[in-house]
């Protein structure tokens, strides 16, 4: 059972709809018991970092997330769910979960519209087998759907497995042990996105 973590924010419905369509058993929940029992966790996106952290803390989900991730449970962070893993975010100058060292920064380019809203290519850099599996049946430079004003800057660059370009090259997907995190929304990226989720489940 995949648990989609309900922290009162984000497009929980979209993620659930996609998993339902794929015939994958999932539940939207903020119950600590269910989160502990889940076979995998998804922290979805959409929302502001400050509100996101506040809501996680209010529901006492921050600690359980950290401990479940440390235990090695498969975890997928999407968009804000990726950013919240970092040490801190410029969005509301907020301290985040600090599971991945680094900062979340605002796109700072006067010639570009912020947020980035739309389809953008993901260039996969790493040829490790596990990453090959994650991108099985997904051609390199496939387009995924992004909606973000901020991007993640991990201190340890080796976690970056894919980059996209929006004024600068930014980390659009990272993997660290049991953590997979995407700046794009696989649940909104049509057929390719569905394939990505299937691959993640099969990792």
């Amino acid at each position: 059972m995949i648990v989609i973590i309900d922290y009162g924010l984000g497009n929980l419905g979209s993620v659930k709809n996609t998993l339902d369509k794929l015939g994958i058993d999932s539940v939207i929940s903020n119950s600590i018991k269910q989160i502990k029992a889940g076979s995998g966790l998804i922290l979805p996106g959409v929302g502001s970092a400050k509100q996101g952290m506040e809501n996680l803390r209010k529901r006492k989900l921050n600690k359980i997330l950290v401990s479940e991730i440390k235990k090695g449970k498969p975890f997928l962070g999407i968009c804000l769910g990726m950013q919240l893993l970092f040490s801190e975010s410029e969005e509301g100058s907020v301290k985040c979960l600090n599971i991945i060292e680094g900062k979340v920064k605002l796109f700072n380019n006067k010639n570009l519209k912020v947020p980035q809203i739309g389809w953008n290519e993901v260039k996969v850099k790493n040829s490790e087998l596990r990453i090959k599996n994650l991108f099985k049946n997904i051609p390199d430079r496939s387009s995924f759907y992004f909606v973000n004003s901020y991007y993640c800057q991990p201190r340890d660059k080796s976690v970056i497995v894919g980059k996209s370009e929006y004024g600068i090259d930014f980390c659009s997907i990272l993997i660290k042990k049991n953590i997979t995190a995407t700046q794009f929304h696989p649940e909104k990226s049509g057929r390719i996105g569905r394939q990505f989720i299937i691959n993640w489940l099969n990792l």
Partner: protein
């Protein structure tokens, strides 16, 4: 959309039935649309809330971005729409009447989630006003000024509909789109007036739009999404095929 059916009007009146929203949404997803926009156009004027069950049934059938608007007056309205599967929420009259709604929603859900739906009509040379209540009320406020203000309050995107060109099928409103696009630093979706394939190229090239929305052309099967995308790609406009 009105009364649970997809409709398409001309300059916001004379609506013609275009079918079942869920079936259409499925079809567009399959055809390769990049995004769906769903507006409950009479929610405000009928002083009711958006039809959440239609939102939810539509959302279940699409795996592309889905923006929903109509009758949004509070953060709670917005939360309900998101909970029912929308990815972005469009605010229009509710935000004009209470601009702080934009800030509240942006603080809560992030600005990328808040779309300003702006219906504009030309009132004299080089002057477009914001019209609210489904295009029936001239606010007297300049579309440019409202667009700038709404962005400063937290709108992350503007769905710009030209009432003058809507449903006329003589091309998008290039002049209006260009001037709004020049004045704000968020993506502009141009809407209203697409009548032939060339119109799509013009609105990107001359109108400086970031995205183009079309309704009747696709609803009534005059063009497919694929035809439009292939055409644009050949013209060197970046599109996802």
């Amino acid at each position: 959309m009105t009364e649970g059916k997809v409709v398409k009007g001309i300059q916001f009146v004379n609506f013609r039935d275009a079918g079942d929203p869920v079936a259409l949404a499925k079809e567009y997803d399959k055809q390769g649309a990049d995004e769906l926009v769903f507006l409950d156009i009479t929610a405000t004027t009928e002083n009711r809330n958006i039809l959440l069950d239609v939102v939810s049934r539509t959302a279940k059938n699409v795996s592309i971005p889905f923006s929903v608007g109509g009758g949004i007056r509070t953060v709670e309205d917005m939360r309900l729409v998101l909970e029912n599967g929308a990815d972005k929420v469009a605010v229009n009259t509710g935000a004009f009447n209470k601009p702080s709604l934009i800030t509240e929603c942006a603080n809560y859900f992030g600005r990328q989630c808040v779309v300003l739906s702006l219906d504009a009509r030309q009132v004299r040379k080089n002057r477009w006003n914001v019209f609210i209540n489904g295009g029936t009320t001239d606010t007297g406020v300049s579309a440019i000024e409202w667009a700038k203000k709404a962005v400063s309050l937290g709108a992350g995107e503007i769905l710009l509909t030209s009432i003058d060109t809507d449903g006329m099928k003589k091309g998008f409103n290039i002049e209006l789109t260009k001037i709004i696009s020049k004045n704000v630093n968020v993506p502009i979706i141009a809407s209203g007036g697409a009548g032939k394939i060339e119109d799509f190229f013009e609105i990107f090239e001359k109108g400086k739009a970031d995205a183009a929305l079309a309704a009747s052309l696709f609803h009534f099967g005059e063009l497919t999404i694929k035809q439009v995308k292939n055409y644009l790609r050949n013209k060197n406009i970046p599109v996802r095929i």
